[in-house]
């Protein structure tokens, strides 16, 4: 029985939260909904740990959904790279049930709590599904599952601030445009190749000569995903969505949603297309590289002038997306490794930061830096977590952010890109400014309202915040896991065409997936 179960782990990864979601709604009680959410998200976390352990050595799990052979059937395909992303998503996802109850109590009407959990689980399903699938159209489906539930989640912030509704609507419009572009690109690819399986697509695209339709498809996919990533200048939906969504939602989205979108982009850049495809190389060098650098600066500078702490961090996220895209444009293994490492490190750091801010908002009732003066003394643990996360954002040694910067700058030097190397450090200095504005307000200024008694955050919120902040330190001190996993992922991505050609896919009527060790032929 257990044997049977482990064979179906890739499918269970998405099926468990997908089944749990309607259950939450059917039972209607927020306590039961919470319990179901907790169990489902912990289960996905355990599954992703097991999956990563299986593929970290470079092997690939190919699971055929319903026993239908790819390329016609939908294939779930897990390698070192997406197993790592699964771990990020499900890891953050597993913390949210601990964090959310205390936080949403003041932000969402009680009657909506079970809907919140439903939407949250659907969002988790979508994000995990995007990551786990090896079918391009399936990516679109899951992307929409996660996006649609996200719109609902953002709109739930309306009790506290009605602007959440307009933000959610704005996000809905932008997100749908992105999804449309993406699916148009997929349609063109399908016309050209007649397949939607990513590995199969890669093989068929290699055979195509220089082809304008292919270029158009690539452009559509890049723009579509660019919107979901919040790639500068397509980021306009993000600050408001993050600022007005309930705190737990913001923490979850900031840590996972854009990360999964970046994962998808990397999949398309390297698994479906590749560096052999000249149009992609040109686009990366002449379009994405400048946009990434502009994001690093423009968004950081805007962040400096924000008065709302959530918006400040949201703009910081846009800048950080710039770093991740920059890594890719160096067209090297170190560069891609840097991107993957930063994907992980930034998810952990930003998740922790938004959780800390959520705790501050809960107690102070406002995310404005003005109102948070003196928080250093009134909520010492929460504020300490914020400072620690801020240090990681800046990239101070012994934090995860430092490891990211180290790899990114190394990659720049290796590629002889001197100017980007200098710009990377210059933009980290902008992070010093926006983080320190908050630190000064919290520690060096007198409280806005000294007579008001402010309690420390609820223990569960504090613990989940510190789990992430602690992780951002742990992975800064001992980066062997992240660097190992990221470089395995980068190997997998850059060598993906080679590997995929050699994987033996046996008939799978038994529904049993096949684990093929790397390099075995």
């Amino acid at each position: 029985m257990l044997e049977q179960l482990t064979h179906h782990l890739p499918a269970l990864q998405t099926v468990i939260p997908l089944i749990a979601a309607p259950l939450c709604m059917l039972f209607g009680s927020r306590h039961i909904a919470w319990t179901i959410t907790l169990i489902a998200s912990l289960a996905t976390f355990v599954i992703s740990c097991v999956l990563l352990a299986q593929v970290i050595d470079g092997s690939v799990i190919s699971y055929h959904l319903g026993g239908w052979e790819p390329p016609l059937g939908i294939e779930y395909r897990i390698d070192a790279f997406n197993a790592f992303v699964l771990l990020i998503v499900s890891g953050i996802g597993a913390l949210i049930p601990f964090y959310a109850p205390a936080s949403i109590k003041s932000e969402i009407p009680k009657s909506l709590h079970s809907y919140f959990y439903t939407a949250y689980l659907l969002c988790l399903t979508g994000l995990l599904g995007v990551t786990v699938t090896g079918d391009a159209f399936n990516v679109f489906v899951f992307l929409e599952v996660s996006s649609l539930s996200t719109y609902a989640l953002v709109a739930m912030g309306a009790k506290k601030d009605p602007r959440a509704l307009t933000s959610a609507f704005n996000y809905l419009v932008m997100g749908t445009i992105g999804a449309t572009f993406f699916v148009l690109g997929l349609g063109l690819l399908y016309i050209l190749t007649g397949t939607l399986n990513m590995v199969d697509l890669a093989d068929k695209i290699l055979l195509l000569e220089d082809n304008r339709t292919l270029n158009v498809a690539f452009a559509f996919i890049l723009v579509g995903l660019g919107l979901k990533i919040a790639m500068f200048p397509m980021h306009l939906w993000l600050p408001n969505a993050y600022a007005y969504a309930p705190s737990a939602v913001t923490a979850f989205l900031a840590a996972t949603a854009t990360k999964v979108a970046i994962y998808t982009l990397l999949r398309f850049l390297f698994t479906v297309f590749s560096f052999d495809y000249p149009f992609e190389v040109q686009t990366l060098e002449w379009v994405v590289l400048p946009l990434a650098i502009m994001a690093m600066f423009a968004a950081s500078i805007v962040a400096i002038f924000q008065t709302n702490l959530k918006r400040l961090l949201a703009y910081s996220s846009i800048a950080q997306v710039g770093y991740m895209l920059l890594g890719v444009t160096f067209l090297s293994k170190t560069g891609v490794t840097a991107t993957i490492i930063h994907l992980f490190n930034h998810a952990v750091t930003k998740g922790g930061l938004f959780m800390a801010v959520g705790a501050l908002v809960l107690r102070y009732g406002s995310p404005n830096i003005e109102d948070l003066r003196g928080a250093g003394r009134q909520m010492p643990w929460t504020m300490a977590a914020f400072v620690a996360g801020g240090l990681s954002l800046i990239g101070v040694p012994l934090t995860a952010g430092f490891i990211s910067k180290w790899y990114l700058i190394s990659a720049a030097f290796e590629a002889n890109h001197w100017v980007p190397a200098i710009l990377i450090v210059a933009s980290s200095l902008l992070a010093v400014i926006y983080v320190w504005r908050v630190v000064e307000a919290a520690y060096l200024q007198e409280p806005a309202n000294p007579t008001r008694q402010i309690k420390e955050a609820p223990p569960m919120m504090l613990i989940s915040t510190w789990v992430l902040i602690g992780a951002s330190f742990y992975f800064g001190i001992d980066a062997s896991f992240t660097t190992h996993a990221a470089s395995a992922g980068a190997d997998m991505l850059l060598g993906s065409v080679d590997n995929s050609a050699h994987i033996i896919l046996e008939p799978s009527h038994s529904l049993i997936p096949h684990v093929t060790p790397h390099g075995q032929e």
């Binding site: 240090l391 800046i394 990239g395 101070v396 040694p397 012994l398 490891i403 910067k405 180290w406 700058i409 190394s410 030097f413 290796e414 190397a421 200098i422 450090v425 210059a426 980290s428 200095l429 010093v432 400014i433 320190w436 000064e440 060096l444 800064g476 001190i477 001992d478 980066a479 062997s480 660097t483």
Partner: protein, 510 residues
């Protein structure tokens, strides 16, 4: 259980850290807290002193903690230069710990527990810098030192302190991330290692024409060395309570800067590579300019601590200059200047603090005649000044002597001139303070002629714990003159190379 090298290094890092935690736990009981602070410093010094004996006997204590990234480890290895810095910082911590108690209580400062905690953490970071075996480890502790001293600078939490602390943090973090990190990663990409190796690691891995550029990234990246134009943070840091200025901004932090500079010169570039490529020529001129300009600025400052701060900027550039001369004698002189200047400058700062505690005066123009009411403080100030100026029989004479020798040796006659002029400028900005104190009448006394009593009734010194430490360090300045031989022997392998060390050992500094 016999003490092994590994545990001793670990202890040197852990003791101040543990002290910090204990200090934090004893927040309620200020007497216990202060005793812990002093005990920690004594304990740390005994460990570093034991290590010093081992290093003098030729041992190379090592401790490898863990790999942060493949090929980059957090590791420690004590060579003579680091040993010297470690002993200086931990030794002077004892006096400063005593002094801090008197000063903080005498001034009734707030947030004393936070103050002592950050202080202990800063010392822990200094030990990490001193004993680091590669540039990566050094950089980590370098940043820890910056961050742990930030709350000390912002201690008073008023507008001035906030502004000073902002300058402090932005310049130190800005230069270290903006330049030094780039330089380190560049070195890493070029050579594949960051270990400190005598003779350098860059030779053969770096295009010679890039050597000056890389050196510039290091030299400006090491903001703690206060090389102009990145020196503004040091005067800004003077808003901190005086014990901080004394130990951290005259000894630990700034010496960590010049120490890193020497490390880069000797162990990353290598003296031979520097002199071969001429990479450090421009640095020599900049350091010389920094020496003179800072001295002249110091003369214009009426605030005593600001004057001392600019004097520090100038003196630090002596060490940068010595390194940039790219000769063995220069390294010897520069390294020797670390303890010599530290002992002198800490004396001066502690005296300035004593005057502040006793009279709440900060400006030199208000201090006329104070020498007669505070004779011990002023005597200590005089001795410290003479050592900084470089007059025998005080320690400062030796380091200046070796830097002069190095300048002569490399044929840099202009540099000899610079050093001479600078000594005169030292006289011009330090001795008037003492002269005013002893020879000019105190304006307050004139209004009250009845105050002329016997000498003992006129003496109004600061509390004992504030006056005793500068007197001790003043005696230290004197003793260093006679113990220079020991320092010379310790440093010989660094300056002249491990092989030739034994041959030159006979050459005495006298």
């Amino acid at each position: 259980m016999p003490l092994t090298h590994e545990t001793a290094i670990a202890l040197a890092l852990i003791i101040p850290f543990a002290g910090m935690i204990l200090i934090g736990l004893s927040d309620r009981n200020s007497i216990v807290r202060d005793i812990i602070s002093v005990l920690t410093s004594l304990l740390l010094f005994s460990v570093t002193f034991w290590l010093l004996r081992e290093v003098e006997a030729g041992a190379v204590p090592e401790l490898i903690l863990f790999d942060v990234m493949p090929g980059l480890s957090m590791a420690f290895k004590i060579e003579p230069l680091g040993m010297l810095f470690g002993v200086v910082a931990s030794g002077l911590w004892i006096v400063t710990a005593l002094y801090a108690i008197g000063y903080m209580r005498g001034n009734k400062e707030a947030h004393q527990t936070r103050f002592y905690m950050c202080f202990a953490l800063a010392i822990s970071a200094s030990m990490g810098i001193a004993f680091a075996s590669n540039m990566f480890t050094l950089f980590i502790f370098y940043e820890v030192l910056t961050l742990s001293t930030y709350p000390l600078v912002a201690h008073k939490q008023n507008a001035d302190a906030k502004k000073g602390a902002r300058t402090y943090l932005s310049i130190l973090i800005g230069t270290s991330i903006g330049f030094q990190l780039l330089a380190i990663i560049w070195t890493w990409v070029a050579t594949g290692t960051l270990d400190f190796v005598h003779g350098g690691i860059l030779s053969g891995h770096l295009d010679d024409s890039f050597a000056p550029v890389l050196l510039a990234l290091y030299a400006f990246g090491i903001g703690k060395a206060a090389l102009m134009p990145f020196h503004r943070w040091l005067p800004a840091a003077m808003v901190a309570p005086t014990p901080v200025s004394a130990l951290l901004h005259a000894v630990a932090v700034v010496k960590a800067g010049v120490f890193t500079m020497l490390k880069v010169g000797v162990y990353i570039f290598g003296i031979d590579y520097l002199s071969l490529t001429g990479a450090s020529d421009w640095l020599m001129w900049l350091a010389a300019a920094s020496i003179l300009i800072a001295s002249i600025v110091a003369m214009t400052k009426d605030n005593l601590k600001a004057r001392l701060a600019y004097s520090t900027v100038s003196q630090l550039s002596y060490i940068t200059l010595a390194m940039a001369l790219a000769s063995s004698l220069g390294v010897m002189g520069g390294a020797m200047h670390i303890p010599m200047h530290a002992m002198g400058k800490i004396t001066l700062f502690m005296c300035a603090g004593a005057i502040y505690v006793a009279t709440h005066k900060t400006n030199i123009s208000q201090m006329r005649g104070l020498g007669r009411t505070m004779p011990f403080t002023y005597a200590a100030f005089l001795i410290g000044s003479l050592s900084i100026i470089g007059l025998p029989p005080f320690g400062g004479a030796w380091s200046k002597w070796y830097i002069l020798l190095a300048a002569a040796d490399t044929g840099q006659l202009i540099m000899i001139g610079v050093l001479m002029v600078s000594s005169l400028l030292n006289v011009a900005y330090l001795l008037p303070v003492v002269a005013q104190g002893f020879f000019l009448p105190n304006p307050d006394d004139l209004s009250e002629p009845a105050a002329k009593g016997s000498i003992s009734t006129r003496i109004k010194e600061a509390p004992l714990l504030v006056v005793l430490p500068p007197c001790l360090t003043a005696i230290g300045c004197f003793l260093l003159f006679f113990y220079a031989q020991e320092i010379y022997n310790l440093l010989a392998p660094v300056a002249f190379g491990p092989e030739t060390a034994t041959a030159v050992l006979g050459g005495s500094p006298s």
